[in-house]
Subunit: 142 residues, 2 copies
């Protein structure tokens, strides 16, 4: 989660909502990314999507069975859907997101019976620092 | 929808689940793509994601306000989430997807009060041909 939090801090410096993610494959961090939709002109460039795509490309495989995804904020519906498609085994996240989250809020995506795969989910990890980064970012823009 | 259906047929020839999409910006088709997660080693490479990313990159903007997205199959949660993030104005889709769909099935994503943006939605367009492509594909793999 340290690597994900550092990526989130980088996002804030780039004017992006500070969220970061890291992907662990066979005990090794193989992808780290910051949220970057503005910078990359890509509405899908959330931190989770970026590490999943980078890891899948690096490994040359469509699915990442057994992988762990660490992210500083509760994933949205898009990212939770991608996590299921990628067959991520374990999801660890920091702050919860009452507005945009889709894991413990809104559509509660991983409880949907139609979902092909659901990861183990562990929330609240590094929550204090993750939430502080977000609060500082939005306070500065008000 | 013709362009999206042709892309879906291409996907089938490449051994991918036959789904295709096209993105219309200011009356012009600016992106067409087939579903390609296996070919691209990218679990997020659904047709909808690919046209959104291509269009946003081509236009150099994060959001595609006013755009229309045409896709041959009801979007999943990941794609519906991306459609909301991209601020797509109108979504036209072909076949409905009781197993993986997130628009009229499962999480009914565009009815979620937490969603930032919801497009106008028109289903069942080109449904017969879209569903026939999918049926033929899955029949051949059984």
């Amino acid at each position: 989660m340290r690597r994900a939090l550092d990526a989130a801090a980088t996002a804030a410096r780039d004017g992006e909502v500070p969220v970061g993610a890291a992907l662990v494959w066979q005990g090794e961090v193989i992808a780290v990314a910051a949220n970057a939709p503005r910078t990359l002109c890509d509405p899908t460039a959330h931190a989770e999507m970026r590490v999943i795509r980078a890891a899948a490309a690096a490994l040359g495989r469509e699915r990442l069975e057994g992988a762990e995804l660490w992210v500083t904020l509760e994933p949205c519906a898009m990212c939770a859907g991608a996590i299921a498609h990628a067959r991520i085994a374990r999801l660890y996240y920091g702050a919860s997101d009452a507005k945009g989250g889709a894991v413990e809020h809104g559509p509660l995506l991983f409880t949907q019976p139609t979902l092909h795969h659901r990861p183990e989910v562990y929330g609240g990890i590094g929550e204090g620092e993750a939430a502080a980064l977000l609060r500082a970012f939005f306070r500065a823009r008000r």
